[in-house]
């Protein structure tokens, strides 16, 4: 049991790495930099100044046209030892955690045998009593490891390790190198808090920590400005948008948690599973739908999907870690973790989950068809695949458990991380070639022959995500589509099937636009004319090694057939024979081939400019292209909503404060002043006035007394 008892190491090692980097190696880094400006302010301000002005004595680009980038991404001539060691420490500790989690995985699946099997309930790893008021409230900070947690742990630590390794090459010479690694470690820690959480309280803490870390990471380039001509926000704005949008989902999350707590008195998942059967089922359904709202926010489902595309403003390793593999998967993990609660609720809860996922899948896929920005296509692809995961969770039922959804999460983590890291490799190369930030696919093309490793791995990932037979996506995605049909949701089946076709189409479109084009080999698939400037070449080995590793994983991860049974004892195992003999599989494959084939035929043979002209000349196509390009105008709708409704209410409240509240306060003072001034005229200084008042009072009193005496006898 020692193997499981020490698994708190996986949880706390990234935290340790964060602390060491922030207080140790980063301080070393900052203090060892040459002082370019006299430090007029001391302490932390001095360090930030050094970091921000670290490039004043260096001009890596040396061209006047890149003036605008001076404060976008501050660079140094070379990294200081402190920064390098930040990277080493981050990678080393994450490697240890990754090895440990792989050991746990291999042990519990039976591949190796160094400890006994894990009990189904899992093992309590760490527990701390936060507040104990006896029977009414007992708040524990408790962490538990079980099969589901091990799967998620493996995904998180592996992707995090590869991303940190990759960042050593991608963020090279950056002034914020050490800060970046500290944030990556913090994020990994937050994600593991969610993974290990035993009760809603800890999960919510991890939820918010993940939100914080993603805010820090998205907004990593502090001074980078917005680019309105490319419809891009500044990273700071994108970070705020991400945080606030997920916060909106968190409101629902908290309400759901509170409803559950109010009715059962506990946050603990295991206790809740047994107590919710005594709850009113309608109330439970409502509570679980609220809890799902948190997942809608965090996993970027419609209608709270708007933060994910702008979040691409962060560095590409961040996009890979957060928006491909881990943070957005937190919502899926949460639903999987609370799967028994959803099962105990009415069918409406699963229906909501599945339909939100389905609608999101097709919505995002449609938008991705029309995007030009390389990372934005991937962002919408992520949203769409997350929709698939929720469909998988929604239609599975208690026989399959959270298996299908989590399996897609597992495979998706690898190929989506590969897609993003590959995109990062491309952007890195183009940045070096053109000395500008190029993300528009219309300025790429034919990179296959110039960056072969990146292109090959990207192709592997594209095929995986499209559900090409025998790659990992084939197993995970098609089983979800098949389950939708088996569950009787024919509409969902049709939607997911159509979306699979769309996915294949836009992914191959992106591949060909970036790496191929008319005139390349294999009929336009590989190489060809390069539409941009400069001369891009392959990225260094620190970038390509993670790509290769992930490509292998994208193929191999799909072959874990016992996944469903690993999570839910008694669930059916996949088998190749069953899969190949099912007609639904072939329908899915056919749809994928149609999508791939059409994209190949269109973009491989026709020049992009001609396609664009074709679309522009036909009003129906042009209008629909515009709608998709503007993302169904949802962003504009939200902007208008905030500008007119929210700010309108704010103006009303401000007016209320200025006129009514201040009016009352000032009015009271004014009343006193005016009445004082007017009443002072009573004092005329003349005795006769006073006598008149006196005797007037006498007269009034006399009459009063007479009246009272006569009538009130």
């Amino acid at each position: 049991m020692a193997l499981y008892d020490f698994s708190w190491f996986v949880l706390f090692s990234p935290l340790f790495s964060f602390v060491v980097i922030i207080f140790g190696t980063r301080m070393w880094d900052l203090f060892s930099r040459p002082r370019a400006v006299p430090a007029s302010v001391s302490g932390a301000h001095g360090e930030h100044e050094a970091e921000a002005h670290g490039d004043t004595h260096d001009d890596e680009h040396g061209e006047s046209e890149s003036m605008q980038e001076y404060d976008d991404d501050p660079q140094l001539p070379s990294l200081t030892p402190g920064a390098k060691w930040s990277g080493y420490i981050g990678v080393f500790i994450m490697a240890l955690a990754c090895i440990y989690s792989w050991l746990l995985l291999l042990n519990t699946t039976g591949v190796i045998d160094i400890a006994q099997a894990l009990p189904a309930k899992g093992v309590l790893v760490f527990s701390y009593t936060w507040l104990n008021q006896g029977a009414t409230a007992s708040y524990l900070v408790a962490f538990r490891v079980d099969n589901l947690a091990i799967v998620m742990m493996v995904v998180v630590t592996t992707v995090s390790l590869l991303v940190q390794f990759y960042s050593q090459g991608y963020m090279d010479n950056s002034a914020g190198y050490a800060r970046f690694f500290s944030y990556l470690s913090l994020f990994t820690f937050s994600m593991l808090v969610i993974t290990f959480a035993q009760n809603f309280l800890v999960m919510f803490i991890g939820w918010e920590l993940v939100g914080l870390s993603s805010y820090l990471l998205i907004g990593f380039w502090i001074n980078k400005r917005a680019k309105p001509e490319e419809d891009r926000l500044s990273p700071a704005t994108a970070a705020i948008e991400a945080f606030i949008t997920t916060r909106i989902g968190d409101v629902g999350f908290i309400i759901g948690i509170m409803i559950l707590f109010a009715n059962t008195g506990t946050f603990d998942f295991a206790t809740l599973t047994s107590s919710v059967t005594h709850m009113n089922q309608g109330l439970l359904t409502l509570a679980m739908i609220f809890v799902f709202c948190g997942a809608i926010g965090k996993s970027a489902q419609v209608p709270l999907h708007v933060w994910l595309p702008p979040a691409m403003e962060g560095p590409t390793p961040v996009s890979a870690l957060i928006h491909a593999a881990t943070m957005v998967a937190a919502g899926v993990y949460m639903v999987a973790r609370t799967f028994p609660l959803f099962a105990a609720a009415g069918p409406a809860a699963f229906l909501v989950v599945a339909w939100v996922g389905g609608i999101t899948a097709i919505f995002a896929a449609l938008i991705a068809l029309a995007q030009y920005d390389f990372k934005r296509v991937l962002a919408f692809s992520t949203i769409s695949q997350l929709g698939y995961m929720f469909v998988g969770l929604g239609v599975a039922g208690t026989t399959y458990g959270p298996g299908p959804g989590m399996f897609h999460l597992f495979t998706h983590a690898f190929f989506k991380a590969l897609l993003f890291l590959g995109a990062g490799s491309v952007l890195h190369a183009l940045h070096h070639a053109t000395h500008r930030e190029v993300q528009d696919m219309r300025q790429m093309g034919g990179l296959g022959s110039r960056m072969p490793i990146t292109a090959i791995t990207w192709l592997v990932a594209t095929l995986a995500i499209s559900g090409f037979p025998f790659f990992s996506g084939f197993y995970s995605k098609d089983s979800i589509i098949g389950l939708a049909f088996d569950h009787g949701d024919y509409a969902l089946w049709a939607i997911t099937l159509f979306t699979a076709g769309l996915t294949a189409f836009y992914m191959l479109r992106a591949f060909i636009l970036a790496f191929g084009g008319k005139g390349g080999s294999f009929g336009g698939l590989w190489g060809g004319p390069y539409r941009g400037a400069g001369d891009p070449h392959e990225s260094p080995i620190t970038i390509t090694i993670p790509l290769i590793l992930l490509a292998i994983a994208s193929i191999v991860a799909g072959y874990w057939f016992g996944f469903y049974a690993y999570l839910t004892p008694g669930a059916p195992t996949l088998s190749l024979g069953v899969i190949l003999s099912d007609w639904k599989t072939w329908v899915g494959v056919a749809v994928a081939f149609i999508g791939l084939g059409w994209a190949y035929a269109l973009y491989g043979s026709v020049e992009f400019a001609k396609i664009h002209e074709f679309v522009e000349n036909r009003p129906v196509l042009r209008v629909s292209h515009q709608i998709l390009l503007r993302k169904f105008y949802v962003d504009d709708l939200y902007s208008a909503l905030i500008k007119y409704v929210v700010l309108g209410l704010c103006h009303i409240a401000a007016a209320f404060d200025t006129y009514i509240v201040d009016g009352i306060v000032n009015g009271a003072a004014g009343l006193v002043r005016t009445s004082g001034r007017d009443l002072s005229h009573v004092e005329t200084g003349r005795v006769q006035t006073y006598m008149a008042g006196f005797f007037g009072g006498v007269a009034v009193l006399a009459i009063a007394v007479i009246v009272l005496v006569t009538f009130v006898k």
Binding site: A692, F695, I703, V705, I706, T710
Partner: protein
């Protein structure tokens, strides 16, 4: 209607008429002279009420000293338009009318309908001991050292008069 009642009505009407004259005349000397009539008629009322000493004191003090004081004051504070408007009314005279009317009506109504009617028709029989006149009785009441008397207020009243004399001199002297 016996003699007392007749006398009362005559004196009362002249009294009230003179009082009205005091407060309505434009010429203040006319008012002062009407004031003398008021004092005189008041003395008559006292006589009707068997208060001879008060009646005589009224004539002596009021109609004698106070009137002279008032006339001297009028002489020393003479304004130029003595005949026409040396005794004007101020702008809130209507308020004074209302107040006075209300107070008067209140008092009369209260006294007329009061349940504490003291023997309304009585006289002063038996108020004086046998063979002693009103003046003697007043003297006994004011000065007697042995029986019930008002010696102390009397002494204090003399101090008041002293203070008043000194005060009047101090206030009124030129410096």
């Amino acid at each position: 209607m016996n003699l007392a009642t007749l006398l009362f009505w005559i004196v009362a009407i002249i009294l009230v008429g003179a009082a009205l004259t005091v407060v309505t005349m434009r010429n203040i000397v006319h008012s002062a002279l009407a004031l003398v009539v008021v004092f005189g008629m008041a003395s008559g009322i006292y006589l009707l009420l068997n208060a001879e000493f008060i009646a005589i004191v009224q004539i002596l003090i009021y109609a004698g000293a106070v009137t002279i004081l008032v006339l001297f004051a009028l002489m020393l504070t003479r304004t130029n338009n003595l005949r026409t408007d040396s005794n004007p009314t101020n702008k809130q005279w209507w308020l004074a009318v209302i107040i006075s009317a209300l107070v008067g009506a209140g008092i009369i109504y209260a006294t007329a309908n009061s349940p504490h009617a003291i023997a309304n028709s009585g006289n002063s029989a038996g108020q004086l001991p046998v063979g002693i006149s009103n003046v003697v009785r007043i003297g006994q009441l004011l000065y007697s050292p042995t029986t019930y008397s008002y010696v102390l207020p009397f002494e204090i009243a003399s101090v008041v008069l002293l203070v008043a004399i000194v005060g009047a001199i101090v206030i009124g002297r030129e410096d």
